[in-house]
């Protein structure tokens, strides 16, 4: 059923009896052309584009909990394409382009809001590093503006310009960046894929991979064995565990990242701001909560929750740039599991096992990638060759040295 203002109006007068489930509660079939493991944004987008771009609809998305129960449902919703390196930038820009038409494409309002992403800089060296990045973006045809202090002040006058430990010198602004409603992205893709015949199977955990003669033939799940010609992993924080089912070791560690939301307040900040002398980012949701976060906790974890030091750090940093937050209260915080790769960039590639594909290494930045990740992964799975903008996101780059290390932090996941 098509969503529209008209449909809403009609249903309002019929007591909303006509609405049907956004996606079916599908039962697993014995065999699929493609099984996608992971009902997060990436897995569902992959299914959607397999159906819409490649005509492959005999597809199941297997999700161990409820769809969106992973990082898709717990991120700070920032979307942007302000990357530095040629291996990343075209990919994220493709994602941004897909965001820009997403809602019409999905017939679902995901509240994509291009309110601007402003990265503050606090020193000349940082300004130059941001200029390097901004220039790289411009070379890719992406919007980027370098603001001086005054420009920043006009946008966000309430930050601390006079008494800060690390004074604000300026910022790198991507106006097309912004936020999107995370859950709606999941539900929108799920509905879109479901409408086109994809089975979305919740509460179905993959517990084994059947591999015969180096080729994947199916998966074992908590709801039985399912055969498949191809199996595509998009399980984010659980990547190492699922890959281990195929005997693979990966350049990935699972780390916890916490996110925070404040009590709802009247509009106070209308863009996304990040602090450059620490690790803090903040925006305001359309409901009024300030959504903010900081660094990862910094140790391996599968616990879906973090610890107090980062909580304190994040709130200290918030106060440091925005002293008016003193009397605003945080309401809730939670953790997600980051699939931190060793160079901080993602992997969309085949694996040494035939028919088994890998989509992982999203670190704390994969929400913005959701559309392009789905698009490129679908292309890879359908055609067995990478989509051009994702061609650098290879698994063998760690062995060859063709790393994509935006931060220059080296092979230490907790520093990316």
């Amino acid at each position: 059923m098509k969503y529209s203002a008209f449909a809403l109006l009609r249903e309002a007068f019929r007591g909303h009896r006509g609405w049907t489930p956004a996606w079916r509660k599908a039962e697993p079939k014995p065999h699929y052309d493609v099984v996608i493991i992971g009902g997060g944004g990436h897995g569902l987008a992959t299914a959607f584009y397999l159906a819409t771009e490649h005509g492959i609809t005999n597809v199941a998305v297997l999700e161990k909990g409820y769809i969106g129960s992973g990082n898709a449902g717990r991120n700070t919703t920032i979307i942007r394409s302000n990357y530095l390196l040629p291996g990343n930038e075209p990919f994220y820009e493709w994602s941004m382009k897909l965001w820009e038409g997403l809602e019409q494409n999905l017939n679902y309002n995901a509240m994509v809001s291009q309110r601007g992403v402003l990265n503050l800089y606090h020193s000349d060296a940082q300004r130059d590093a941001f200029a390097r990045r901004g220039n790289a973006m411009r070379l890719h045809g992406v919007d980027a503006e370098l603001l001086h202090r005054d420009g920043v002040r006009r946008m966000v006058p309430f930050l601390d310009y006079d008494n800060a430990r690390f004074p604000i010198h300026g910022g790198l602004l991507q106006r097309r960046g912004g936020t999107a409603r995370h859950d709606a992205v999941v539900w929108g893709y799920a509905r879109g894929a479901d409408t086109r015949g994809v089975d979305i199977i919740e509460n179905c955990e993959v517990t084994g991979l059947s591999i015969v003669n180096g080729r994947v033939t199916g998966v074992d799940t908590t709801r039985g064995t399912i055969r498949a010609k191809k199996v595509a992993m998009a399980v984010a924080g659980n990547t190492s565990r699922v890959a281990a089912l195929a005997g693979l070791r990966l350049p990935i560690e699972s780390h916890v990242l916490q996110a925070f939301v404040s009590e709802g307040i009247k509009p106070a900040i209308d863009c996304v701001v990040t602090f450059g002398a620490g690790h803090f980012y903040i925006s305001q949701s359309d409901k009024g909560g300030l959504v903010f976060g900081g660094d990862i906790d910094g140790y391996n974890s599968y616990a879906w929750r973090g610890n107090l030091p980062i909580v304190e750090d994040v709130l200290e940093e918030g106060m440091a740039i925005w002293p008016g937050l003193g009397r605003i209260r945080m309401l809730r915080f939670w953790g997600g599991l980051m699939d931190m790769s060793m160079d901080g960039s993602p992997i969309i590639d085949r694996t040494p096992v035939d028919g088994l594909y890998l989509n992982a290494g999203w670190c704390y930045g994969g929400f913005k990638a959701t559309p392009a990740s789905g698009w490129c992964f679908a292309h890879l799975v359908a055609r067995d060759e990478p989509y051009p903008v994702a061609a650098a996101l290879r698994l063998d780059r760690f062995a060859t040295g063709a790393l994509i290390d935006e931060r220059g932090a080296g092979a230490q996941p907790n520093l990316h």
């Binding site: 190492s240 070791r249 699972s254 140790y299 391996n300 760690f398």
Partner: protein, 89 residues
């Protein structure tokens, strides 16, 4: 999280820096397949969802590198030992 440093006693994890997997061993650079071995050493991780031996540095305290055995699912710590096991000559 609190890590019971064998020298300092229990301290909050904010005093420590984390490095990662303590089970990997720096390979012999002279080995014939040193490149492959170093690739594994530097990049590949088991990343298990259970017991994990890992390196922490007590930079905010006694400056010891420690091997902490910790359950990655529950964060329960079962053992902490100096990485440098003893004053061996």
């Amino acid at each position: 999280m609190r890590i019971n440093c064998p020298y300092c006693g229990p301290r909050g994890n904010e005093e420590f820096a984390y490095l990662g997997d303590a089970t990997v061993r720096r390979p012999d650079p002279a080995a014939e397949d040193a490149a492959a071995q170093f690739y594994e050493y530097v990049y590949l991780r088991d990343n298990p969802a259970g017991s994990h031996r890992e390196l922490w540095y007590h930079g905010g305290g006694c400056r010891s590198w420690l091997v902490v055995t910790r359950n990655i699912r529950t964060h329960e710590i079962s053992d902490v030992a100096f990485a440098d096991a003893g004053d061996k000559p």
